[in-house]
């Protein structure tokens, strides 16, 4: 895990921001009359695409790989999660934004944990 404060805070801010934006876009599109599965799948795809676009301004200071990979996952999960809830019940804009922020924070935490496990010298047989 990158322990430099700038990158720790930067990664968190980037993913929370992307999570909120994707959640708000989903909230604008999906209503309680939507089929839940259709909403989840379509908003997951939309979230991925938005993540792939929104990572770019953050990548200029934080690095392309370190922003692109988490941003796509944050977009995917935020779209799917908020899409599911928005299809099941009426959702306020604030609630949608909070859910998006939560997903963004959880996603970057997941990436930090995985990165901590994978970083360092790998087995000599490791591919990739």
């Amino acid at each position: 895990m990158d322990r430099r404060k700038f990158y720790v805070v930067g990664d968190l801010v980037a993913n929370v921001t992307i999570g909120v934006i994707v959640a708000l876009a989903t909230w604008l599109i999906v209503g309680p009359n939507w089929n839940m599965w259709l909403s989840m799948i379509s908003m997951m795809a939309l979230g991925m695409v938005l993540g792939l676009v929104l990572f770019f301004p953050f990548s200029i200071k934080l690095g392309a790989h370190e922003t692109m990979i988490p941003a796509m996952y944050t977009g995917m999960w935020a779209g799917m999660f908020v899409g599911m809830i928005a299809a099941m019940m009426p959702l306020t804009m604030r609630h949608a934004a909070e859910l998006g922020a939560m997903v963004g924070g959880a996603e970057i935490l997941f990436i930090w944990i995985v990165n901590t496990l994978l970083r360092g010298i790998s087995r000599e047989t490791g591919e990739g």
């Binding site: 200029i60 690095g63 370190e66 922003t67 000599e124 490791g126």
Partner: protein
């Protein structure tokens, strides 16, 4: 004849290259790159030079020949080449068509190179040929991932990224082995996607 499509792609990207990478990736990867380049000894071949951003991480006083397929990149690298405190020169050259005599170099260093070389195993075989027996290959590369869900995501990203620049899903460690090198060490820098590879010519 050089791969004109690859050359044109990187020539087109050259004016925007520093803006895209100098503040983000270069700063973030600086510790790992400095660590890798600290192994430079003897006659060194470096690829791909790009706009010369990596030169700031080279230890001073080395004897380095750098190549890049893009004339525009090499042109933009001139100030950084001039500022290096050591013996460094640059040539426009395609890795597939390197005209160096066999066993010309003690070491070869690469930096984000084999994400873009069209035929990576062939290119690595050329590096094997120009290395002296026992010579070492040091690589700083981004590759695909072995793990779900990153592997699938890198495959998806490559559909877009290869149109403007590099592939995101290369199996570079496997390619190095296939080109006849013995892997000494693979060190992950970010996930198992950004990594350093150290290998030796058999």
């Amino acid at each position: 004849m050089a791969d004109l499509l690859t050359q044109a792609k990187w020539d087109k990207l050259a004016p925007r290259f520093d803006g895209m990478t100098s503040q983000g990736a270069e700063k973030r990867w600086e510790p790992a790159k400095r660590d890798l380049f600290s192994h430079m000894r003897g006659k060194v071949l470096f690829l791909a030079l790009g706009t010369g951003l990596d030169i700031q991480h080279f230890p001073p006083g080395q004897d380095i020949l750098a190549i890049d397929i893009s004339p525009k990149m090499v042109e933009l690298a001139q100030p950084r080449l001039a500022a290096y405190e050591g013996d460094i020169s640059a040539r426009v050259m395609d890795v597939h068509e390197m005209d160096f005599a066999p066993e010309s170099f003690d070491q070869v260093f690469t930096s984000c190179t084999f994400c873009s070389v069209p035929n990576p195993v062939d290119g690595l075989k050329v590096l094997n040929r120009v290395l002296k027996p026992g010579g070492q290959l040091f690589m700083f590369e981004h590759t695909g991932s072995r793990f779900y869900p990153f592997r699938q995501m890198m495959d998806l990203m490559t559909l877009i990224s290869r149109r403007i620049g590099p592939d995101m899903n290369r199996h570079t460690v496997r390619n190095v082995r296939e080109a006849g090198f013995r892997i000494i060490e693979v060190k992950n820098v970010y996930l198992d996607v950004v990594k350093t590879i150290r290998a030796e010519r058999h």
